[in-house]
């Protein structure tokens, strides 16, 4: 069972299936004429990029002060954030493959991210002897990406092998310990020659190539000005890789292997009876997901130009970050990781800038406190209204409970007020982003189980059915049945 | 209003959107043994669970002068109704004695005398008082389940398919015990069963439940000789 997938719901949210159902409904009700063209294929993909990804990127650039498209200068830090978002999105694609599609909750994928990043730096810095490749063991940065993917695939298979017998909390706990274990190994002083031990590896910053390709003299220049345009190049590179991986994953999910993964998630026993080899499927899924996250890690390392085991994204909090992005975007949604990662980077940056601004928080906290008071009073009032008969008759100690609820919530409010006003002296607000993301995880797990993209699709699929007008009265009478197909 | 210990009127209940019971009316008088007979899926367990407050239901349930139509399980217990759930529902990880103690959870005051008393009635349980309930045999677990329910000193005992999964000889013994309980304690019994033969002989009155409706009722003998009941529950018209 995956973390945010729900059985017993008539809406199936694996990529494509909602559209397919939509086609049936819309095709039938519009008098034989299909309202929607087939939903798959290159053209549709292009449409999605145009409709979905580009406006999002544009919006973000504007939000972060990047105004290159409509004139003005590019903000380098804004570009860097966007590159980060796409890189994290790639890593989240890996988590999504194993957790969203295959239903094996992993809180350990930041380990693959770290391994990928280290691979890039180790190879480009020539820290291991690789006699058959490159000059003096120093690798071309571009070629480290597939190596990182291959290495992470291997590690993923090795981890997946025992993990496939574990479920639920046991798998989650094991992957959590795995993260710390990998960090210990990367820090280990006996491996210092390769990994740099506790200090890590500091490399030259990756320089964007002058040409996209240089094939027998046919050259396509990138038009980039070397190191200065690193962020811009990383956006192109990571977005291209991200779209490629999305295409690949959506292909996998339509193949036998993908269907076996989904079957494994939905009902292991049934999947096994249907001839799915669970151990093979889980191992392959773990390997593939590790490889994808490793690609993200390699890009991250190249962009950052240095790695050490204490980089937050490589540890426990990195693992949670990937989980947040997946859950917010939507588990088992091909577009989920991109949306989730962009959201994560965006909100994290805002929270960081709020936290770092040497501001006077009194106004903010006063507002927070007022909101808290209102919320608590509404909750208490609702409780009292719902239980007023019990309270009046003191059924099952109703009156005492009401007193407890009122006193408890009031004292909690007072405590919250004291704490909130107490921190306004510091001037620096750490952890705001983390609190937001933690609360978001809790809220999404309860209220938005399909994530942003999944919810959008449900909304769209409902909306779409209203549009086709039934051509005749008899069809109008039948229309509600069509709606029922997808109604919840 | 009446001499009826339990009076159920217009009881409807279900799970989610699906209504399983459709406006049932039945009653149990003081000291009476009443059987509700029904096939799989007729709504027997749902009937039990709605009387004991385990699920949401609508309708009037009057017990001994108390309205318990919307009461929670602990309140139902306190007015004097205990339930032996389907599949016995013993606390398998707890010892036999702890099971009995848990049965008296709603009882205030000393329960030592009650425990001794049920050990007298079921000597097998006394022998195994320190064993995990999960290690008992099916029949012993059924005895334990009944003893646990009796620890609450009920005026009405609900039994949900007590014969389920037991050998015929054990079932007979069990029904004998149930009959004796009623005679000794003047307690009423409401039993749901598929086993028509035994339960109809035991009972004073019976109802037949089909797909959430009561389709027949009468004394045990009447129903034993009823052709439809014979056909449906006693294997042929013979």
């Amino acid at each position: 069972m995956s973390d945010v997938h729900h059985e017993g719901d008539s809406v199936t949210l694996d990529d494509g299936e909602v559209e397919m159902a939509t086609e049936v409904v819309s095709g039938k009700s519009a008098g034989g004429l299909p309202v929607f063209t087939p939903q798959h294929g290159a053209l549709h993909w292009l449409g999605r990029v145009l409709v979905f990804a580009l406006p999002l990127a544009y919006l973000l650039m504007r939000v972060f002060g990047v105004t290159g498209i409509v004139g003005g200068g590019w903000s380098n830090s804004g570009l860097g954030l966007l590159a980060d978002a796409f890189i994290i999105a790639i890593a989240v694609m890996g988590v999504n493959l194993i957790t969203g599609y295959t239903g094996q909750l992993s809180i350990g994928h930041s380990a693959f991210f770290a391994i990928g990043a280290y691979t890039g730096l180790v190879l480009t810095q020539g820290r291991v002897s690789t006699p058959f490749f490159g000059d003096e063991n120093v690798w071309d940065p571009g070629w480290t990406i597939p190596v990182a993917a291959a290495l992470c695939f291997l590690v993923g298979c090795v981890v997946g092998l025992p993990a496939l017998r574990l479920k639920g909390i046991y798998l989650a706990l094991t992957t959590l310990v795995f993260v710390e274990a990998v960090r210990s190994i990367l820090k280990y002083e006996k491996f210092e020659d390769v990994t740099g031990g506790a200090t890590g590896i500091k490399g030259d910053k990756y320089t964007p190539p002058e040409y996209v390709f240089d094939f027998f003299g046919i050259k396509l220049p990138t038009g980039l000005d070397g190191r200065a345009d690193l962020n811009q190049w990383m956006i192109y590179l990571s977005l291209a890789l991200l779209l490629f991986i999305m295409l690949m994953v959506s292909g996998i999910m339509r193949s036998r292997i993908g269907r076996a993964m989904v079957a494994t998630r939905d009902n292991e026993l049934a999947a096994e009876v249907m001839g799915v080899n669970l151990s093979v499927i889980k191992t392959v899924a773990f390997g593939l997901s590790g490889a994808i996250t490793g690609i993200g890690g390699a890009l991250f390392g190249l962009k950052l130009g240095l790695v050490d085991a204490d980089v937050p994204l490589f540890g426990l909090f990195g693992a949670i970050t990937l989980l947040v992005a997946m859950v917010v975007g939507g588990a088992a949604q091909n577009w989920g990781p991109m949306v989730g990662a962009v959201f994560y980077v965006f909100v994290n940056e805002i929270a960081r800038s709020i936290g770092e601004a040497p501001a006077d928080y009194e106004a903010v906290f006063t507002i927070t406190l007022i909101v808290l008071v209102v919320v608590v009073m509404v909750v208490v009032a609702r409780y009292v209204m719902q239980h007023r008969n019990d309270i009046r008759a003191n059924v099952s100690n109703g009156a005492w409970k009401a007193v407890l609820v009122v006193v408890g919530s009031m004292s909690a409010l007072v405590a919250a007020g004291v704490m909130l006003l107490g921190i306004s002296d510091g001037g620096k607000l750490d952890g705001l982003g983390g609190v937001i993301f933690g609360v978001l995880l809790i809220l999404f797990a309860r209220f938005v189980p399909f994530g942003a993209v999944g919810t959008f699709r449900i909304f769209r699929s409902r909306f779409v059915q209203i549009i086709p007008k039934p051509p005749s009265e008899s069809r109008a009478a039948k229309a509600p049945e069509g709606v029922q197909v997808q109604g919840r | 209003m009446s001499e009826n210990l339990l009076e159920v009127r217009g009881l409807s209940a279900g799970y989610g959107q699906i209504e399983v019971l459709h406006s049932l009316d039945f009653h149990v008088a003081d000291g009476e043994i009443v059987v509700i007979l029904g096939a799989n899926g007729a709504g027997k367990t749902t009937t039990m669970r709605s009387v004991s407050g385990m699920i949401q239901r609508s309708g009037d349930v009057l017990f001994d002068g108390n309205r318990i139509g919307s009461a929670r399980p602990d309140a139902v217990l306190r007015v004097g109704i205990s339930q032996v759930p389907q599949g016995r529902g013993t606390f398998t990880d707890l010892t036999v004695e702890d099971n009995l103690r848990a049965g008296a959870y709603s009882v205030k005051g000393s329960i030592a005398a009650d425990i001794d008393r049920w050990y007298d009635v079921f000597p097998r349980l006394a022998e195994r008082r320190d064993q995990r309930a999960g290690s008992l045999s099916g029949g012993e677990q059924q005895m334990l389940a009944i003893a646990r329910a009796m620890m609450n000193r009920p005026k009405l005992l609900l039994c949900d398919e007590p014969s389920l999964g037991l050998a015929p000889i054990i079932t007979q013994n069990l029904f004998k015990i149930l009959g004796e309980l009623r005679d000794e304690m003047g307690m009423a019994l409401l039993v749901v069963e598929q086993n028509a033969g035994l339960s109809l002989q035991l009972c004073d009155r019976a109802y037949v439940l089909e797909t959430g409706h009561i389709v027949a009722s009468g004394t045990g003998d009447e129903l034993l000789n009823d052709d439809t009941v014979k056909q449906a529950y006693l294997g042929g018209a013979g």
Binding site: M1, S2, D3, V4, L105, I107, P162, G168, I169, Y170, A172, L173, T174, L176, V177, F178, A181, S184, Y188, K190, L316, F317, I320, L323, G422, I423, G426, K428, L429, D430, G431, L432, G434, G438, V439, L441, A445, R446, P449 | M54, P73, D74, L77, Q83, G89, T90, F91, T92, D93, L94, D98, R101, A102, Y105, S106, G134, S135, R148, N152, G165
Partner: protein, 295 residues
């Protein structure tokens, strides 16, 4: 030899912390079948509260009791508001939500108390000369005190579970919620109580650890992982297992650091091996119950 004894006490004291935390995990696992990923972080937050209380002049033991009360409330709140509404839906969603609590609570302490280390006085004497000797080995009173706290908690828990009606209800609910309802136990209240109890024990573990380890937001990150491994090693549904597992992990850690030089920085890989070995070869743990029931 004296060094061995010293290390053994170090290991037992550290293991006592893990045992406390593992006990908290076991109490929750038995009642709801969940691993409370936020257990350690709730403890850390409570330790920060305790440090604030002592700064405002309260005696240490009062601060600790207050911190435990706060731990009780937070954990009870988490059960009622975060876990219960989704626990019937799917186990994965609960893990995600608890990871959310983990993150939110951890960052909340950073938000309120900053990232610099705070000080929390110990309940026990920590002067340079507060130790006693067994042969040549110098044993610090603080270590013995922590082991003693574990012993007291174990005894109290034993009495609670085996001698009181509430404890009987908790065991009944852990075993069969449906039947617990039928005998009149308010299952919801018992669940809240179980989580609260675990929250209080977790807070106790944190305030015991903080004086020697230094009170920062990362106080319980490592200990939580050690304690989880300990709980799995002992059997996630066995309180005895939690204590034994915690002490074993503490001893293992102390002896690895003391005697196996090349592994002293590789504790988490060792823990991963321990965890995987237990889960693959003896999933019920050392003391967990193999479910065998006759029908």
């Amino acid at each position: 030899m004296s060094l061995f004894i010293q290390r053994m006490f170090d290991g037992l004291a550290e293991g006592s912390i893990y045992a406390l935390l593992a006990l908290a995990l076991v109490v929750i696992f038995r009642s709801t079948g969940q691993l409370n990923f936020a257990q350690g972080e709730i403890g850390t937050l409570c330790a920060f509260f305790a440090s604030t209380f002592t700064l405002s002049g309260l005696p240490v033991w009062v601060a600790i009791l207050l911190a435990m009360a706060i731990g009780f409330l937070i954990a009870a709140f988490v059960e009622r508001v975060v876990v219960r509404p989704i626990e019937d839906r799917n186990p994965g969603a609960v893990i995600v939500a608890l990871i959310g609590v983990f993150l939110a609570v951890n960052q909340l302490s950073a938000m309120f108390w900053g990232v610099d280390a705070r000080s929390l006085p110990s309940l026990f004497p920590t002067n340079a000369d507060s130790f006693f000797r067994i042969g040549d080995a110098a044993i610090r009173w603080e270590r013995v005190g922590i082991i003693g706290v574990l012993a007291v908690v174990v005894v109290l828990l034993f009495l609670l579970f085996n001698r009181t009606k509430i404890g009987l209800a908790m065991r009944a609910v852990a075993n069969n919620q449906e039947s617990s309802n039928l005998v009149g136990i308010r299952v919801g209240n018992i669940l809240i109580l179980g989580w609260g109890l675990a929250g209080a024990i977790g807070a106790l573990a944190a305030v015991m650890l903080a004086p020697s380890a230094g009170l920062t937001g990362t106080l319980m990150l490592g200990p939580f992982l050690y304690a989880s491994v300990a709980a799995v090693l002992g059997g996630l549904d066995s309180p005895v297992g939690a204590v034994v597992g915690g002490l074993l992990i503490g001893l293992l850690k102390a002896f690895l650091i003391g005697y196996v030089d090349f592994l002293s920085d590789m504790l988490f890989p060792v823990m991963l091996v321990v965890l995987l070995s237990v889960l693959l070869f003896r999933p019920a743990g050392l003391f967990g119950t193999e479910k065998v029931e006759r029908v």
